[in-house]
Amino acid sequence: MADAAAVDHGHGTGTGLSNNKLLMWVFLGSECLLFGGLISTYLIYRSRYADGPAPGDIFDIPFTSVSSFILLMSSLTMVLSLSALQRGDIRNNRVWLLATALLGSLFIGGQVYEFTTFLREGLGYTTSPFSSAFFTLTGFHGIHVSLGIVMLVSLIISSFRGTLTKERSETVEIVGLYWHFVDVVWIFIFTVIYLVPSPTS
């Protein structure tokens, strides 16, 4: 098991990263192309809203800005939780993990609210190429955030079971990598969807 710890911290591997951490990096590289494909699709279709609402008619930019800010803040709490664990501060680690999960959930809540509002306003999934692309892109991101929340909750549970110790801080780091990635992707998505001036009908 001492070996395991050594490998976990990447001593003596070819890259100096542990296998687990390298796997996450590699996976995130792949994810870039997944979101790249979805973002490109959205860019191609953002002005093809057929007879449905145009993006410029329907977006509530202040609302989404707030929820984006919430998601970005969760990256901060994620960092805090890791540094707490690295210091061996189990209690603060739990607090910040919980905060991260809550902020993430708040973001998802905001997304659910936004989707239902759009639906009410006549932008269904099948309304137009724009609507299909919008819901697919943000939906995929939402699923990623939700998976991240599941990971965070698992971390919290294992912390309470006493298994999330300073020695295992790399696990938090790896979940953190994923979480930061999802946040960074959102910065791109938010820019592309909401900040770039949208066509109006």
């Binding site: 050594a6 296998n19 390298l22 191609i44 298994t163």
Partner: protein, 660 residues
């Protein structure tokens, strides 16, 4: 994934589930996490699908042998050619490459296994599940009929209302998971687990090519994943990604498909390039000419492969400027490819070539791929391509590349590494029959297709009328296809008879070919723990350099016999990862999800339950089974610096990978 923590908690035994034991019988094959067995499974499965895909090919050739063919109806023909393409690309060449990658890559870098053995097993079982799922469509009466390229809107719900394209979408999606997991696993393996002293530029070219392929997969698979999702949402949930009626642009599919599809071509060909880069130096008895250039040209092909996709769309109306740009980029990808061909020739030049069957196949790759490459250059010329594209000229071209390049290379690999895997040689005599029948049949089948294409025969037509001048060469090609089948039959006979013969003959010994790379340090067949002790690598072709040195006149002199250099496989204290049930359980869930999405969502529930159960079991099964095979704790003496630990004691803890 976070639950890995539980697993790794020091001294906390998790005996909830025991891990499977024993390594005999079918149970072992199902639960194995040994990269070698998984490699064999990949190879055997791919050859099974090769039989199906080959049968489909023969049906196509029977239908087209005469004008107004009546062997298959138009509908069946469309399904057969679609499944032929899908099968050969995704169920034959890719898994055959995976077979070589799985078996040989850890050996070639001097490791005891891949970084994540259970994920490796998962890749195989998910691939198998996807392949069976896709082929189930034949039994359930509605197989894909939109071509392997599946151009929208012909594959949308309006124009393909049956379930065929659903099988295509979901089958490829399932296999995409397998490819992606495998790619991540192998990348980590190569980057992290090389033997001490093995820098990147001491890796065999084959390892390099496999690494490049894994990066291509890593970035290409998500792109087709997006495309398949969009098509699935269109078909099943009424989305509008490819519905022109709502203002969507069908070319979006083509872009996404070919951004995946062109790197895919290199995914198919580079492993073969790697294989013959091992075979040619061995039998020429010379080192590979221009090793760094071979590596860089492979990497260059990998990079440039991303910038040429629209040459599949020269006539689709993407605009003259785009066509011009992609025409030029396509021409320049010929440069690194040419470098490779010339380096192989230079390797052989001045050599003392032993034309074993493996070498014959490798030689076949160099010459046949040259033809494919040259015809490729002729359609990089965009105006010429407007005449050539979607004709049999293209069919000829890519068969010269994929059959003449990839498949022949894989056969070279079979003959070369058969003793490594099974401990006995394949018959050279039957092998020569195999080679010559295949190469003659191949040229008879696909050579005339150049002519047919230039004569104007379109691709994907289920029949042609007399009077277009297509009769002779089609009949000729059909005869050729049966000669190929005969060649493949020779291979099957060879496999069977060689195995029988081997029972009465002494084992093949450690180094039948006077080979060069690390995998030959192990005895044949490779023992379950691979290396008795890890190898300190000082040079490229380490194995060869332990056998030979140069005297003061530059002459090669033998300094050690193969028996002295090779390990005897007698180590007993190597700790290996224990087998696991959960990869196969998880994989079994995917087809249920697929059927559920096609027929009725209720069927998804058992699938989802299987997957969830497997994730749960995966996380909670004990990290190791102390009574498993070779179950003595590693004494630590063999892993001086811990670099190899992942494949040993810590293999399983490290393996608790973030799989979501």
């Amino acid at each position: 994934m976070s639950d890995t923590i539980e697993l790794a908690a020091p001294g906390r035994p998790l005996g909830v589930y025991t891990r499977p034991r024993g390594n005999t019988g079918w149970r072992d094959w199902i639960t194995t996490v040994d990269h070698k067995k998984i490699g064999i499974l990949y190879g055997a499965t791919a050859m099974f699908f090769f039989g199906i895909g080959g049968l489909e090919a023969l049906l196509i050739r029977l239908q087209l042998a005469t004008p107004d063919g009546t062997v298959l109806g138009a509908d069946t023909y469309n399904r057969v050619f679609t499944m032929h393409g899908v099968t050969m690309v995704f169920l034959v060449i890719m898994p055959l490459a995976a077979a070589f990658a799985n078996y040989l890559l850890p050996l070639q870098i001097g490791a005891r296994d891949v970084a994540f053995p259970r994920l490796n097993a998962l890749s195989y079982w998910v691939f198998l599940a996807g392949g069976l799922f896709l082929n189930m469509s034949w039994l359930l009466g509605d197989s894909p009929d939109g071509g392997w390229f599946a151009y929208a809107p012909n594959t949308g719900a309006v124009f393909s209302p049956g379930h065929g394209m659903d099988y295509y979408v979901l089958g490829l999606q399932i296999m995409g998971i397998a490819s992606l997991v495998s790619a991540m696993n192998l990348i980590v393996t190569v980057l992290n687990m090389r033997a001490p002293g093995m820098t990147l530029f001491k890796m065999p070219v084959m390892t390099w090519m496999i690494l490049v392929v894994q990066f291509l997969l890593l970035f290409a698979v998500p792109v087709i994943t997006v495309a398949l999702f969009l098509l699935m949402f269109d078909r099943n949930y009424g989305a509008n990604f490819f519905n022109p009626e709502m203002g969507a642009d069908p070319l979006l599919w083509q872009h996404l498909f070919w951004i995946f599809g062109h790197p895919e071509v290199y995914i198919l060909i580079l492993p073969s390039f790697g294989i013959i880069s091992e075979v040619i130096p061995t039998f020429s008895r010379k080192p590979l000419f221009g090793y760094p250039f071979m590596v860089f040209s492979g990497i260059a092909i990998g990079f440039m492969g991303w910038g040429v996709w629209a040459h599949h769309m020269f006539v689709s109306g993407i605009g003259p400027i785009s066509v011009a740009a992609f025409s030029i980029s396509t021409m320049f990808i010929a440069v690194p490819t040419g470098v490779k061909i010339l380096n192989w020739l230079a390797t052989m030049w001045g050599g003392k070539i032993k034309f074993t069957v493996a070498m014959l196949f490798a030689f076949g790759v160099v010459s046949m791929f040259t033809i494919g490459g040259l015809s490729g250059v002729t359609h990089s010329v965009a105006p010429a391509d407007t005449q050539q594209t979607d004709t049999y000229y293209i069919v000829a071209h890519f068969h010269y590349v994929i059959f003449g390049g990839s498949l022949l290379g894989i056969f070279a690999g079979f003959y070369f590494w058969w003793p490594k895997v099974f401990g006995h040689l394949l018959s050279e005599k039957l092998g020569k029959w195999n080679f010559w029948l295949m190469i003659i049949g191949f040229n008879m089948t696909f050579g005339p297709m150049h002519i047919l294409g230039l004569q104007g025969m379109s691709r994907r037509i289920d029949s042609y009328s007399p009077g277009f001048g297509f009769e002779f060469w089609n009949m000729f090609a059909s005869i050729g296809s049966f000669i190929i089948a005969l060649g493949v039959l020779m291979f099957v006979i060879n496999v069977v008879t060689s195995a029988r013969r081997a029972r009465h003959e002494p084992p093949v010994g450690p180094d039948p070919w006077d080979a060069r790379s690390l995998e030959w340090f192990t005895p044949n067949p490779t023992p379950v723990h691979n290396f008795d002790e890890l190898i300190q690598v000082d040079s490229l072709d380490e194995f060869w350099h332990r056998k030979y040195a140069e005297d003061e006149n530059g002459r090669v002199v033998r300094v050690a016999s193969a028996e002295e250099v090779c390990q005897d496989g007698s180590a007993t204290d190597v700790h290996l990862p224990s087998p696991s049930y959960w990869p196969v359980v998880m994989a079994a869930g995917f087809p249920f999800v697929g059927f559920g999405l096609i027929y009725t969502l209720w069927v998804c529930i058992p699938g989802a339950l299987l997957i969830l159960m497997a994730i749960y079991g995966w996380i909670f099964e004990p990290t190791d089974d102390p009574d498993g095979p070779h179950g003595h704790p590693a004494d630590g003496s063999s892993d001086h610096d811990g670099a190899q630990a992942p494949s040993e004691a810590a293999g399983e803890t490290v393996e608790e990978a973030p799989v979501g």
